[in-house]
Every structure is written in C-alpha cells, then in structure tokens.
C-alpha cells in the first residue's frame, strides 16, 4: 500500500482499519505535502515517506495506491496511479469534481486495466451488503428515500481512533456567514454538504432511483452550524436529505427506502471508530428482518475488497457505476446551489 495524503482521515480512519488487516495489506509508503506529517505518520506503520506523488508512484514496493488527498487532486492522482501500472487504486470520494474528470478517469482505467475503487464506505458495509442480498424486489416499489445524518464535529471521533498529528485550525464556519441572503456562503455549504457528506449515501440512494439523471431539486437550505435540508426528485422517487453536524455527542446516521408494502431502514455506525457494521431492517406489515450488526464496518470492507481485487480474487466495480454515482452527486450539488440563486431572485423580486 502507498497512501497519498496523510491528514486526519488517513490517520484516524484508514491506518486503524489497515491495522486490523495486517495479514492481507501492508503500508509501505506514505506521502504528504507536509514532510513532518508524512514522516510521523509513516513512522507509525514502519513505511517510507515522501512529499511528492511521483516519488510514491515510482516506488516499486507500492502495489496499491490509496488517494486520500484533498478533493481537487483526486482525478489527476487517480490517472497518474493508473498510468504507473499499479494493481489497484482506491480513491476517497468524490473521485472527481466534474464529468470531464470522471470520463478521463474511466478512459485511463479502461486503457491501463487498473481497477478503481471509490471509498464510498457504506456500499462496502456488511449491513448494507446483507440488505442488498435480502431485499428482493424492494427497489421496484420504493417511492421515497430518506438519508439523515447527525454527527458531532469530526475531531471527537478522530481522537477516539488515534492521536492526530498536523491537525489544522478549525475551519471558519460558513454557517456564521450564512445569515441573510449571502448566496456564496449558502451555496458553498450546500455544495460542500452534498459532495462531502451526502455523497456517502448517494450511491445507496441511487440503487432506489433508476431515473438518476432526471434530478429535480425542489428545495435546498442550510442548517447551522453545518448541514442541509434538501428535497428532490429523481424520476418518480422522492428523496429527502437531512444533515446536521452540531455539537451533539451522540451520532445518528440512518438511511431509509420506503415502498408501499416494504421498507428498508439502516442504522450506520459512526465513521472513524471500529464499532462494527450497520444494522439493516427490512420490514413488511407481517415481518421485520434484522440483518447485522456484523464485526466490521464499511471502511474495513472497502480495504478487504481492494485486496481481493489486487489479488485477482475479487471483481472491481464497473467504471460506469462509479461515474453514474458521481454524476448523480454532481447533479444534486449543482441543482441545490441553483436553488439558492432562484430563491434569492424571488427574494429580491419580493423586496423590490
């Protein structure tokens, strides 16, 4: 393994996950633009360190590359890792920030044959996978999907998982600036909320929204200090997205898909800590089937999957699946931001 980017997510999520998988994966190289962080994090796992992508990709000891850098670097680093002839690439979500980048990645993956996995951890959660195996015809009848995320600030769970080095100062809250029709701050929070938080569940949402290209965002609003209320339709399916990252100590992360006669409800465990898998419930009027919890979470699941792919014993996701997931997220983020402009136009008209 080589890891590009050694920030809090790498330190608190990926390295603890990999520490549980030492029999199948070994971290050999850590890269971060901050040399002190790179050296410190690499030392934890006995790996080499560097400050450049090229140096890590040129390291013959690295067979699998994990891209955990800031979003804007993902696409170019995925492409470079594919061209470096690695066995597999894991890219944190989102794996691109626009359709052109996604298409370029798909083309390079096809050309080089290097499989790509996007770190949408809930799609690898054993609770989700068990539900998927058990839900039968549920997707055909689902008319409503809800994703609700209530989380404490990340450092609370980072500190339960590891000892962070190089943590930057807390980002100024866009929320504080979001009073009044300050469209830039509101749009930034909505876009960040969709691409940074909702995106964890959007691949799950898309399983129940076959007309995922037919997205219409009906309402989008921010929640203080960080979060969103977004109402949308994808084809005939109603989708409601709720999130609040407040000062609460108790996390809650639920996903629901509801049809006339059956429904699915999943309670996910918090990120960062290894608290086992999600618990899924498939309900009808006559029964409730409980699936899970199982012993590992989706992060560990994605690493297991990556190892299987690199070993040739597992099948990589189809690139078009990853692209469609990204297109879905981008469409929602763009339309949510456009709602702000539409709302402000109405506000100005009403104020005139």
């Amino acid at each position: 393994m080589g890891i590009l980017g050694a920030g809090p997510v790498t330190q608190a999520i990926h390295l603890p996950s990999l520490a549980r998988l030492r029999d199948i994966l070994e971290v050999r190289h850590i890269m971060d633009v901050d040399p002190a962080v790179a050296e410190s994090v690499a030392a934890r796992v006995g790996a080499r360190f560097s400050t450049s992508t090229e140096e890590l990709l040129a390291d013959p000891a690295v067979e699998i590359v994990a891209i955990c850098s800031p979003h804007q670097f993902h696409a170019v680093q995925v492409i470079a890792a594919c061209r470096a002839g690695k066995k597999a690439v894991l890219c944190e979500k989102p794996f691109a920030m626009n359709g052109e980048e996604a298409a370029a990645i798909a083309a390079v993956s096809a050309e080089t044959g290097v499989p790509i996995v996007v770190g949408a951890m809930h799609t690898f959660d054993p609770g989700w996978l068990a539900a998927e195996a058990a839900w039968g015809s549920l997707p055909e009848q689902v008319h409503t999907v809800r994703s609700s995320i209530v989380l404490p600030p990340n450092p609370r769970f980072e500190d339960f998982a590891t000892e962070i080095v190089g943590r930057g100062p807390a980002a100024p809250s866009a929320a504080g600036k979001a009073s009044g029709p300050d469209s830039a701050a509101v749009k930034a929070m909505l876009t960040g909320g969709v691409m940074g938080l909702a995106i964890h569940d959007l691949p799950l949402v898309r399983r129940f929204a076959p007309d995922f290209r037919d997205v219409e965002v009906l309402y989008a609003q921010t929640v203080l200090p960080f979060g969103y209320v977004i109402s949308l339709r994808a084809g005939a399916v109603t989708i409601e997205l709720r999130a609040a990252m407040n000062g609460i100590w108790e996390p809650s992360w639920t996903f629901e898909a509801i049809g006339d006669d059956a429904s699915l409800s999943i309670d996910f465990t918090p990120s960062y800590v290894h608290a086992g898998s999600a618990t899924a419930r498939i309900r009808t009027a006559a029964s409730t089937t409980v699936l899970g919890p199982f012993g590992h979470n989706g992060y560990e699941g994605e690493w297991r999957k990556l190892a299987e792919i690199a070993n040739g014993t597992g099948t990589a996701p189809r690139p078009e699946t990853l692209i469609h997931d990204l297109e879905f997220a981008l469409a929602i983020a763009d339309a949510a931001a456009a709602c702000v402009d539409a709302g402000n136009a109405a506000y100005e008209e009403a104020s005139a």
Binding site: T144, A178, G180, Y219, A220, V223, E240, E250, A262, Y347
Partner: protein
C-alpha cells in the same frame, strides 16, 4: 361514585376510534347507550363540524370527534359554548397523553430544545391510500401540539405517496415535515428537534392501541428517556371529555383546531419556492 355517561358511536366513529374498547376501559366514566346518549362520538370525516353542531343542539352533554379533517369549527364552538356542551377532538397523534399540559417535564425538555433549535425534522406515516391532506392535517396538528411555532410554511411536493412541507422556526432554523405512506410501518409520527448541542425526539404511536409514545432528550449532560404512558390518544381524549363534563370547564380543542384549519388552508395553494433566504 359518579354515574357513567352513556355513549353512542356510529360505525365510522367506532372504526376510527375503537370507541367500544376505549369506553370499556373506563367503566366508571362511560357505558354504552341503549337509548338517548349523554355523549356521542362522531367520525371526523368531511362535514363533522356540522354534524357535531347538530349533536350539540340535540342536547347531549358531550361530543367526541375522532380524527377530524380540516374544517372551520367556529359555528360548533359557538353552539357548544351556548349549550355548555363539552367538545373534545380525538386527534390521531396530537391527543396523545404525553403531550398533555400536565406533562411538565416533557414540555420543558421540548421547549428547551426548540429555543436552541437548528433543525426540525418531522415525519408522519400513513397507510397507502391515505389522503395526503388528511395525513398533513394530522401531522400539522401534532407539530402544533408539541409546541412548535411554524412560519412561512409551503408545500414543496405532494403526491399519492405523501408530501414535503417546509417552513421555519421563530429563530430562523428550517422545519421540514414529510408525510410518507406505506403498509410496512405503523402509522406513527416523529418530531425531531436538533439543537446546537443535542436533540429532542418525540415518537407518537398509532392511536389504535396503547403503545406508548417515546420522548428522548439528548443534551451535553447525557440522554434522558421520559417515563412511558401506556394510554392511547383515544382513551386520553375520553378521559378529558369526562373531566370537562364534570367540571363544566370547556376544553380548548376547537380554538386550537381553528388555528390548524387556517394553517392547512394557507397551504392549499402555497406556491412552490425552492429556497427561502434566511
């Protein structure tokens, strides 16, 4: 010992309010009427306000209306006041005893959460085929009974599977009300108030049995689950009626329902607004 009030319920009221079973659980207060009733139970389907007014004019001492749809109760209120007749509305979730004025600790916890709210997220569940407006009336009545003051309400989407209504709380935090139909879940309502450091959650059960409501509060100090009350909204409504008949003090149900009806009326033709600036 008090004399049981004699109760008469039509088939629709019996079906909607399980009247026979409920009054059987209050045998000192009520008994089925063979002849002229003291109290009548009416189904709250369209025209209930006129039917209740007629019942008041017939001289009964009390009227219970089960699951009323949005209607102007002004004429009924005037008739009831004139005749000294007690009128109680048995609302699916709003009449749950956990929301009674006597539940001071619950009401304080909810009020504290509302004062610091960053988001209100509420879902009402109904069986397929439920008229979205009926579900929305039940839902709004519930949110109001919780003590929530809603502003700038508007319908974002509405179809046979439910609705989404968006508004805001007095402090500007968004309030999202969603109605969903399915047969896979009981007809419950949830009201979640997220605050800057915690949350309060109220889960109100289907009124057809004595499943308890659940109220849970999370603050920086920990989580509190309030004592459960195994009494249905129906039974609590009948107990309120008996108390009102005995005391002669009118319940405020019709006054509150007038506000609910006005709110539902405002939503009928509300334009869709994709984003409301703070």
């Amino acid at each position: 010992m008090s004399t049981p009030l004699l109760v008469q319920a039509g088939p629709d009221a019996e079906r909607a309010g399980t009247v026979g079973a409920v009054i059987a659980s209050l045998p000192v207060s009520f008994a089925p009427a063979d002849g002229g009733p003291d109290v009548v139970a009416l189904a709250g389907t369209a025209g209930w306000a006129a039917a209740a007014t007629e019942a008041v004019r017939s001289g009964v001492r009390g009227v219970v209306v089960v699951d009323p749809v949005a209607e102007d109760p002004a004429a009924l209120a005037a008739a009831a006041a004139g005749a000294g007749t007690a009128v109680v509305l048995d609302q699916t979730w709003a009449s749950n005893p956990i929301l009674a004025e006597s539940q001071a600790a619950v009401r304080t916890a909810i009020a504290d959460a509302l004062a610091d709210a960053v988001l209100l997220d509420s879902v009402a569940w109904g069986v397929p085929g439920t008229d979205p407006e009926v579900l929305l009336t039940r839902h709004l009545g519930t949110v109001l009974a919780v003590g929530v003051e809603l502003k700038d309400l508007r319908v974002i989407q509405r179809n046979s599977n439910g609705y989404t209504v968006i508004g805001s709380l007095p402090g500007g935090a968004p309030a999202a009300l969603q109605g969903i139909t399915t047969s896979s879940l009981p007809a419950t309502a949830t009201v979640s108030v997220l605050t800057s450091t915690g949350r309060a959650d109220i889960t109100l059960p289907d009124a057809s049995a004595g499943w308890p409501a659940e109220v849970r509060s999370v603050t920086a100090a920990g989580a509190t689950t309030f004592p459960t009350t195994y009494e249905s909204a129906h039974r609590h409504s009948w107990r309120r009626l008996r108390a009102a008949v005995d005391s002669g003090a009118p319940e405020a149900d019709l006054e509150r329902f007038a506000a609910l009806t006005e709110l539902v009326g405002q939503l009928h033709d509300s334009p869709r607004s994709p984003h409301q600036p703070h």
